[in-house]
Amino acid sequence: MANRYSLKNMSKVQNLDKILEEFGPHLHDAPYEGWRSDRVIDKVVPTHCPYCGVQCGMNLLVSKGHLVGFEPRYDFPVNEGRLCPKGVTAYLQTHHPDRLTHPLIKRNGNFERASWDEAFDLIVRKFSELQDKYGKDSIGVYSGSSLTTEKTYLMGKFARAGLGTRYVDYNGRLCMVSAAAGNNKAFGIDRAANPWTDIPLAEVLIIAGANCAETFPVLNKFLWQQRDNGGVWIVIDPRETATARQGDLHLQLKPGTDVAVANGILHVIVKEGLVDESFIAARTNGWEDTKAAVERYTPDVASQISGVPAEKIVQAGLLYGRAKTGMIMHARGIEHHTNGVNNVLSYINIVLATGKIGSPGRGYGTITGQGNGQGGREMGQKADQLPGQRSITNPEHRKYVCDVWGLPEEELPQAGVSVVEMFQKMREGEIRGLLSICNNVMVSLPDTNDVRRSLEGLDFYVCIDFFMSEGSRYADVVLPGSAWSEDEGVTCNSEGRVVRINKANEPPGEAREDWRIIQEIAERMDRGKYFGFSNVGEIFDEMRVASKGGNADYYGITYDKINRQNGVFWPCPSDDSKGTPRLFEDRFYHPDGKAKFHAVEYVGADEKPDDEFPIILTSGRVVYQYLSGNQTRRIGFLVQQCPEPYVEIHPELAAKLKINDGERVKVVSRRGEGVFPALIVRTIRPDTIFIPYHWGEQLAVNQLTNPKLDPISKIPEFKACAARIEKIHGRELPILGKGRKGTSLSEVQKGK
């Protein structure tokens, strides 16, 4: 099939300059009709931030139908008015001049304005042609978790009952899916175990691979409450992030060596007799194997593998082991690995061995990244999942969901594959058409050069978006969808609290609410009988029923209950249930009610440094950008703070390579190369470099990252690959903005 994309000159993006001119990203930094203090506010809409998994409450100010500002929502208990800079500036995206306001069809390489009818007709014709010729599975659906839960439910249903394809997946696959898999294996359910109000009650916190300061800023409220109470933080991170700096003990490990560190900590806990034998006997299975496995990981062995001084591993073990209460939290740092699930399991082993779970201040949880990262993995848009965290391979689950949908069981497709594998199937020609919503594949998938080949090879690509993303430039049809404030629904935050997004303004121009677009396509493909919703509440009600009896049971949740209680923690199986803030108080979710230990061994990253590529490259985020940056790279304030990616290099490595601070250097891996300004800082390990990932094309760190997948969760290894740095001459520099900016506001202002 190589010849399908061998015609290099026939790119689907022939007029990039024109696309950039028309659709940006342009910088815009003012409310509708400018900064004015003489406005009359017609309505104040309580809702939540569109960005990360904390889902901070905020009030949106509406004047004459436009969002014109925000007001802190002091009465919402999670954040009590607090917001990060993305949240503060979120409202500026709704009236941004780059907004897509009418459908676009690509003709002769140019996006041309089209009517909704033209666009829908084309989509239905192409999808039908492809499916007639190559089978139902020739169309893929790739969704996202920044959508409301109703929409994620709809996307899963649309793929299976609308298109009848097995190939559907979502961008949570690039997020916390290792944690989801690990949680399911150990606990039989996938949700953070404790509400965040437990954090201030924990004597010791272990924070692994989570740069809370930049990625979950408002979570720091709880962390500092714990600190004020006298608590201690143990931070496990290859970089001295603001969180690591503020913590009490920093284990600065080599990327990809988490299992060694966690097993080392557990080894110390066992040797010191700090395990909770009665908890292990009463509530867990499999301890002996795990105990035997960690025997080998003495502090010295763990130290040799991870580069963390042995005494720090001992100290961590003693601090956590001796504490009465304690919590372990982790995020992408340990999950984005080919052994991501094992990393997660190795930390869960510590939790189970000490019995620190299921009561106030004793707990565990992944900190989910995306706004609706939790809700988006509950209602059936995952390749192998049906609503309520049911399994598409389980005959009983299939039957239940088919009954709810009224779909003949034989029409429900089998499990699909993860998104990275879907893009492989596009290159192989098995998937010929794609419908995507709420993602930006050219930034967020690993190895963007391969991703580009996948998109170029597609026969037909439809993208629903409210800004033209780097990925949607490759589309044949772009449909203008809605921003978060232009639709209603629920999301589930990272602690399992279902909250309500309220509508504040209408989509601009001809743009439509996303769910109406999906519904219309289904109707025009003669599948309308499965999608007869007249409002979002009806989708929610069907979803409640579809989730009933599953792990993620929403049946007892109503919009009204969410408003009354400031959110509802699932499972909430009945009308009189108030929800379940803390899981595992008396049982785990495996059939025998017990949790499972998993003995895990250190394997390490798929690609280890060698002579040719001697440095470990890790990637991550900055506080000013959200995910692929399609929303935040257009907001002037945020871009001013961090206009471009940079490469963090330790002064020792920089001296060896003769690199100056601010100098642009070429970073090369086996898959690609990119030019980034050097930020020479003592806050990173000398054998590791770091590049933030929010940018596309030549600025994408994902040109370099390793697409190798975890065998269980299918998450790619964003957090460790082998790379080298080359010095480049001034005349070889790409022109990407002027001067180095972005390390401090003062510096940005100087450049003005």
Partner: protein, 214 residues
């Protein structure tokens, strides 16, 4: 007004949420009056927010030839009065904390007025409302100080000048004063470059420092 601001630098995560939110204040819509700076990014991720400290005897007002800078009955030092401000920038240069900025488009000195439009209506200032960590807090001494392990300090010594402020710094020491003695502190940073390294001056030309203006 019993409430004041408490700045707790060790909690600052450098997110600049305060900087963005400050622009929403109606008295200076679109302009931020708060600054967050890296202390020394090469060495640490530590950052420091700077708001007006609202001095009990404000240097900015003392040096103003037009008497344009007033303090209200709550001890809040206000921005320069538009009809009086002479564009002289004495205040910009004199403030020991480097707080007032000169708005060249409006020919006016502007500074943090502790969100007077909000606090006068019983609302918290924008920066203290949004700050995720409590690095900037607004409340009474009795509300804030007992909760913290850091200690409040509101006296600063700059060479021969001693300044007392309405705003407190929360510090992890028992010092009663913050003593700033700039002499010689930065000397060690000069001349560290190894001989023979290529210079980057050709590719990265710094422009004039106009960071006191916007």
């Amino acid at each position: 007004m019993q409430e004041t601001m408490f700045i707790d630098p060790q909690r600052c995560i450098g997110c600049r949420s305060c900087v963005a939110a400050c622009r929403e204040c109606s008295t200076h819509k679109g302009y931020s009056m708060i600054f967050v700076d890296y202390i020394d990014r090469a060495e640490t991720t530590a950052t420091m927010p700077t708001v007006c400290m609202h001095c009990k005897e404000p240097t900015c007002a003392l040096v103003c030839p037009a008497d344009a800078i007033k303090m209200n009955e709550d001890g809040v030092v206000m921005s320069a009065l538009k009809p009086r401000c002479l564009d002289c920038r004495n205040c910009v240069n004199a403030c020991p904390f480097g707080v007032p900025k000169y708005n060249s488009a409006m020919h006016l000195q502007m500074k943090c007025d502790m969100c007077y439009d909000r606090t006068s209506e019983g609302l918290k200032p924008m920066c203290a409302s949004v700050c995720p960590t409590g690095a900037i807090s607004f409340g009474t001494y009795e509300q804030i100080v007992p909760l913290r392990r850091t200690k409040p300090v509101n006296a600063h010594v700059f060479g021969n000048q001693r300044v007392e402020t309405k705003v407190y710094l929360m510090l992890p020491t028992d010092e009663k004063e913050v003593v700033v003695d700039g002499c010689g502190v930065f000397e060690g940073h000069v001349g560290l470059a190894e001989p023979g390294n290529e210079s980057w001056i050709d590719t990265q030309v710094e422009e004039t420092d106009s960071s006191n203006e916007f």
